[in-house]
Symmetry: C2
Subunit: 219 residues, 2 copies
Amino acid sequence: MSDETTPTTPLSGTPSPAASAASPRAPKLETLLAAAATTFATRGYSGTSMRDIAHDSGISLSGIYYYTRGKSSLLYEIQSRTIDALIASAAQALSTVTKPADQLLQFVENHISYSNDHPAFVRVLSHETAPDGTDERREAVELKRHEYVKVLRDILDRVRQEYAAPVPTSFAADMLFAMMSGPRQWGVSDTELNVGIASRLIYDLFVHGFTGGAAATRP
Amino acid sequence: MSDETTPTTPLSGTPSPAASAASPRAPKLETLLAAAATTFATRGYSGTSMRDIAHDSGISLSGIYYYTRGKSSLLYEIQSRTIDALIASAAQALSTVTKPADQLLQFVENHISYSNDHPAFVRVLSHETAPDGTDERREAVELKRHEYVKVLRDILDRVRQEYAAPVPTSFAADMLFAMMSGPRQWGVSDTELNVGIASRLIYDLFVHGFTGGAAATRP
DNA sequence: GCTTCTTTAGAACAAGCGTTCGATGGTACG
DNA sequence: CGTACCATCGAACGCTTGTTCTAAAGAAGC
C-alpha cells in the first residue's frame, strides 16, 4: 500500500524521520526528503517547485523521479515518516514515568525536543496539506495524527481527574498543540531558548497559567 | 504610497476589513477582497490562482485587474485592512475598562470575536505571506502587526506586575496568540463554541492554567 | 570485451500561471 | 444623435509548472 518506490517499514523507534528500510537508494532518498522538507517548510508546498527541490537537494529535476513518484508523494512521505517518528518517540519517552503530570511534561519535552531536532519536518507535518491528492494517503496521515493527539488527550484526562481541572480535555489539547507549534508567527519573540527551558515554560504556562497559580480568583 | 487603484483611508473604527474610502468602485472591490480572502484562506496564497479568485468572486479574470494591481496587491490589501481593523477594534474595546486583567479579557474577546466575524481575513493575516513581493508593503504590514502585538504585551506587563507572574511577557504573548489562532490544526476539536465562552476558556486557561489554580505546586 | 542493471540528466511535453491588450456594451451629458 | 467615460471581458502573451522520454555514463558479473 506504500506509494513510494521503496516499501517503507514502520521505522520502529528511529528518531530521524528520514530513515526507512534498508535499500540501495535509501540514503539519497533521505537527502531528497530532507531537502524537500526544508523547502516546503520555508516556501510552502504550493510555493515550492520541483525545480526548487532539485536545486536544493543537488539532484537533477528528472533524477528526483527515480526516487519518488512525484511532488505529492514527497509531501506524504515526509508527513508520514514524521508522525510515525513522533508517535514512537513519545511512546518511548512516556514509558519512563507514570504520574500524569510527569507524563504531560514528558510529552511536551519530547515534542519540543523533536521539533527542535527536525524543525522542517514537524512544520511540514503541522502546517502543510496536499491540494491535489484525492488520495487516501492524506487520510492515513490524518489518522495517525489523531492517534498522536489521543496520546496527549489521555494524559490530560488523567491530569484533569487528579486536579479536577475545569477546562475540557480536547480543547485544552488543541491549545497546548497550538502553543507547541506556535513560533514563527505574530510577535515571534527570539525564542532561541534551550529545549528544556522552553518545554518547562510551556508546561508551566499551560498547567499553572500566566499568573502561576496566584490570583486564582474566578468570578 | 497606497498601492491600490483607490487610495485607502485608515478606515477609522470600521469593523469590516473590506471597507475603505468612498469610491464608485469600492463596493465591488470589497466583494473581490472577500472572495480572495476566503480562497487564500482555504487554498493558501500560492495555491490560489487568479482564475480561482475570478471564479469565486464572479468577476472575470481580466476584470479583476480593473480593481487591483495584481495578486500580491490583493494579499497586501487584505492583510493591511485586517490588521488596521483589528487595531482599531481592540483600541475601542479596551477603552471601556482599566483593570489589567479586565483589559486582557477584553483583548481576547475582541480578537476571538473579530476572528469569528471575519475568519478568512484573520487567517490570511496570520498564516499567509507573499513570496514574490520585494516590497516594502510586507514590512508595512509587519510593522502594524507588531503594533498590535505590543498592545497585548503592554497589557501583559501590567498583569505580570500585579500578580508577579513568572513567565516572560513576550513569550506569553506569543503563546496567547498561538492559542487564539489555534483552530484548524491538530485535533481540531469541533470548536463551534460561542464566542464569549471560547474567549473565557482561553482567558482562563491562559491566566489560571489547565488546573485552574489548583495544584500550584512548583518543583 | 560484452552484457546487464542501476543511476543520472538534458530536452521536451501539455497544462496552467499572472498579466496585458483591444474591443465591446452601457450610461450620462451636450 | 454624438461624444466621452466607465465597466467588463475574451483572447492572447510569455513564462513556469509537474511530469515523461530517451539516451548515456557507471558498476558488476561473466
